[in-house]
Symmetry: C2
Subunit: 611 residues, 2 copies
């Protein structure tokens, strides 16, 4: 696979191919229209008045599109360029982009098979592919496209919440099935066991009765349903989720992160023990594979092991993996038969792909172990519009066992064939309703061209990680930058687990955190839309801030390394940092050092302007 | 405005224009890439091995797209054709389709302004346009694009739920502000009054404390928050909403429909009086403008008047208008200055657009009054991907007063500028996160070409309604169809409020509802993907069923008109009907009678096959 042929390219290098395919697509579609009942009359010929109206209408359409084009040129971000070092985005796969555009012409709606005989099966297929990618059995699993990771996270919490209320419902409707369980025991029935019980309920024809006695009908019970534990590094969608789902944000508990910004599993255990002690159920634990801010990969394997221990003590919680960002990285560990590679082979595979020995610092064993453990999670979010390199908006939710859908499924006559047990009636199993089949087709086409193993996405993503590592090491080893009489040094938050680099600059000798924050804010402004049209920027970075409110004192270690005394951290309680998601595969190419030199030169220019 | 120039056309009549614009767009984008730092090197030239890899990669891309194209041709539905008489879909506006395709090349993400400097302002602008369309003051209102009407409905219920918990929270945090109110009084503070109180809370710097004491932090309180009333004709998203938002489906109460399938406002009053009597709060009432099944327009003006009466008795409920389908029809009543036209002028306007006097049966005064009343609703759902004629997936939620956002808004450091009060940081005010800027651009471009008044969308939609009326009258006046020795008659459920026609056939003399249902099921199968690839169908219809479970005995009137005795209705409790949403503007054209003759001929063929 030639990575440079996957994209239109930073200089539109593949424009000829792109144009050819687009022309083919349009011809194909136009023919499709013409040959549907070819004898039907065309729209009538026009008299003079109507010809004038037609011209005016087409002129107005042209003007609107010209205006749109002008707006887009001024106000779009050049994701495609290796000069873009900001958010989780880069160029999209040409196959995916063209597939999306082609499918828009047909405008299918994947809410119902009837409105999308072509693209609903693609969505089901893509769901199975992603399920296999995370290690689930695609024959038992369930997966579908959502409008993003946020909605996928909601859906996961929805399913976890409803499933955990089922034992209470069964005890009401079929008391014999649950035995003499008390509230605590009913709150701790393992998810897979609940699904087996639901099978018995179905066999007895009592499914509707049980569903009617569950949270979906009764609403959130007095006293709530337990706590939902998320790491401090959580995506903010979890805060929204707890509100939307009626659980309440007070039911969120935040697990500390370690100095590598991964969840502190020791602290997680401490929290859970405290909750068990007071008999507060743990509804679920979120483990993040690729945090939004830092790209940190939580040690999922340790959380899975922890739950095994608790299960022996008859305590259970749902484990959701928020791999919206990092999910596709798992392809780097899979061979062509979807087998998880031995650790040594992950490295040798990349040596064979042309990287030097020195480039293969990635992955650490802990990162490898975390990705391996995904197969044991109860639900997983993964976003094709992030490291799947497809256009917005495409998230996905994956479950190892599709029986869980019975806790949330619905029917509506106008979109579904009630009499059929057709698994392709998507709208009845998901949160959303109408949805663009074009998005499913875009993901499907991407997966057709870039396969979900080490030689496909694994290679592409490994290039992006390699770029991040080069950038990280360049920052780490970069000598002090001198601008006139001032000297600046830079420090990285931590070694990237995947491909996000967090860093901040400080002027040598400065001990004021406020001043340091201002410096980095100003650097950010020079490298973002803040300094004028983003198209005029030399480089584009993103930024974030690490605050006491979210991370406790954890960031103080970082400010300390930049020469800021602890008293300053205590005063400001927030550090402003620069953030580069290196999703582009282009930094890993041979001209990296030239690229870096231009970056540093531009940085010096901007620092000089600020000085 | 020439309606036939708005679409690519059933025979791709506007293909030349379409191709020209597409070529312009691609050239424009390719240039944009090339001229970003034009001196940056192109991707390196390739050695022989790499050239082979490149060819293989491009070949694989081509093959994937050919496979996709083939799948789409076999498995797509010819929405564009006037032979499509099924779901709520038809051809999409060329401007919108091209705008969507163009914007995909730039791939903006409207979650944050930083990722979409061009398209976030478009989404805000579109929100204001839609707010003005429904009669809200665009300077005070709020509107944004959702992934569909389902999510818009969730968001409305979310806002209504959180807002109604604020008085309880204020009483805890600032007891002086609420006075000595009891639970019932706190449950019935009018929404606008709550927003004024929140202003005082903000002035006192207590907003966060109050939010922390509201449902979003505490979760659903014991005993719930009251009932949510929806008509029997509701969209099923409301049933999902009550589950997802933790309210519980048991908190839904269903308002009966009258024989015109509009909400029975008398029954609504009866339900509310009963709830007041037992001091159960009414959280909200949903009024549907264009029901999904029947296209019925509930008499919103009467519900607004009813609430005014209750408000005098210190009882209040949120009124949400689910105008996902019908919302854009309001343009038919607006002049170029966004003024709601007098009733007489609505008709004369259409006479001026070339319809005959006899064609202007629409609208009934009751429909006119319902649309006029929209300005008084507390929230409105409207779907651009339905009667906005734009591609999937684009819904919208509208609020008259954007202050309500304070009850749901969130921030996340990596996407938002905390320090700025920038109203364009969409992700902090909405349910979803990442979202395609391309969708906003598609709606924006559509509105640029087809303006939101009687001469723009009004004219387009009026043509679709006219088509529905012609189809309805043709069915109504159609003589008995004879096939060999059998005779069939057809009956319509009711006169369309907008452009959906529901009808069923029965064999003369048949009194078995089961048999009649089978007949219509078979007719449906002959006119749908069920009889083979949908591309091979003569006409395409959709279907639904009206059941006792959802509608009580209301459908018995319809089966009676088809010669089915009441005892049969009581036995089957469900009638299977054919459903045609006439969104195409093409049936209103001069060749309608020819069209109808071909339809009837095809119907006779199919009935003969069945006989």
């Amino acid at each position: 696979m030639d990575i440079n042929s996957l994209f239109l390219g930073p200089k539109s290098e593949n424009e000829e191919f792109f144009r050819d395919m687009l022309q083919f697509m349009v011809n194909d579609h136009i023919g499709w229209r013409k040959y549907f009942h070819p004898d039907d009359a065309s729209l009538p010929h026009l008299d003079e008045d109507a010809r004038k109206e037609k011209k005016e209408t087409l002129d107005r359409t042209r003007e609107a599109l010209l205006e749109l084009a002008a707006n887009l040129q001024v106000g779009s971000v050049p994701w495609f360029s290796p000069r873009y070092l900001g958010h989780m985005t880069t160029d999209t796969l040409m196959a995916s982009l063209l597939g999306y555009m082609l499918t828009l012409l047909y405008n299918p709606n994947n809410c119902a098979y009837e409105a999308s005989p072509a693209t609903t099966p693609m969505e089901i297929e893509v769901g199975r592919q992603l399920a296999a990618m995370v290690g689930y059995d695609p024959l038992k699993a369930w997966g579908h496209i959502t409008s993003g990771g946020t909605v996928a996270n909601y859906e996961a919490m929805w399913i976890a919440r409803n499933l955990r209320s089922i034992p209470f419902a069964i005890q009401k409707v079929m008391p014999g099935l649950m035995g003499e369980m008390n509230h605590w025991q009913l709150s701790n029935v393992p998810g897979p066991k609940i699904l087996d019980l639901l099978d018995q309920v179905k066999t007895s024809g009592k499914l509707e009765e049980v569903r009617d006695a569950s949270v979906r009908s009764l609403g959130i019970p007095a006293g709530g349903m337990g706590k939902w534990l998320v790491p401090q590094s959580k995506h903010y969608s979890w805060v929204k989720a707890a509100d939307i789902l009626g659980i309440g944000q007070d039911q969120l508990e935040f697990v500390k992160v370690k100095k590598d910004y991964r969840m502190d599993v020791g602290h997680l255990k401490h929290l859970i023990d405290g909750l068990i002690n007071e008999e507060t159920p743990v509804l679920g634990v979120v483990v993040v594979i690729g945090t939004t801010e830092e790209g940190a990969v939580d040690e999922l394997d340790k959380v899975i092991a922890l739950r095994q221990d608790y299960e022996k003590q008859n305590t259970w919680f749902h484990i959701h993996v928020d791999a919206a960002y990092g999910g596709y990285v798992r392809t780097a560990f899979l061979d062509e038969n979807n087998q998880f590679l031995p650790y040594g082979q992950v490295k040798s595979q990349y040596l064979a792909q042309g990287f030097d020995e020195s480039d293969t610092a990635w992955p650490e064993k802990s990162v490898y172990n975390a990705f391996r453990a995904m197969a044991a999670a109860d639900s997983i979010t993964v976003d094709p519009h992030k490291m799947g390199y497809v256009p917005y908006a495409a998230g996905a939710i994956l479950l190892p066992d599709r029986r869980a859908l019975d806790t949330i499924s619905y029917f509506a006559a106008y979109v579904f064939e009630k009499e059929e047990k057709n698994p392709m009636l998507l709208g009845s199993y998901i949160m959303e309703g109408s949805k663009a089949g074009a998005v499913a087709a875009a993901v499907w086409t991407a997966h057709r061209v870039v396969s979900l193993h080490a030689g496909g996405y694994g290679k592409l993503i490994r290039n992006s990680i390699e770029g991040a590592y080069r950038f990280y090491y360049s920052l780490k080893t970069n000598p002090v930058i001198k601008i006139l009489d001032k000297e600046y040094h830079v420090h990285c938050l931590c070694k990237p687990d995947i491909n996000i680099v967090i860093y901040a600059f400080n002027q040598k000798g400065n001990t004021s955190l406020k001043k340091m924050n201002e410096l980095n804010q100003k650097i950010y402004e020079k490298f973002s839309y803040r300094s004028g049209p983003v198209y005029a920027s030399d480089y584009i970075m993103s930024k974030t801030s690490l605050s006491y409110e979210e991370y406790g004192d954890r960031p103080a270690l970082f400010t300390h390394a930049l020469g800021i005394p602890h008293s300053e951290w205590e005063k400001e309680q927030e550090v402003f940092v620069l953030r580069s998601c290196i999703m582009t595969p282009l930094l890993a190419q041979s001209n990296y050092s030239e690229y870096w030199n231009v970056f540093i030169a531009s940085l010096k220019d901007k620092l000089a302007e600020l000085a």
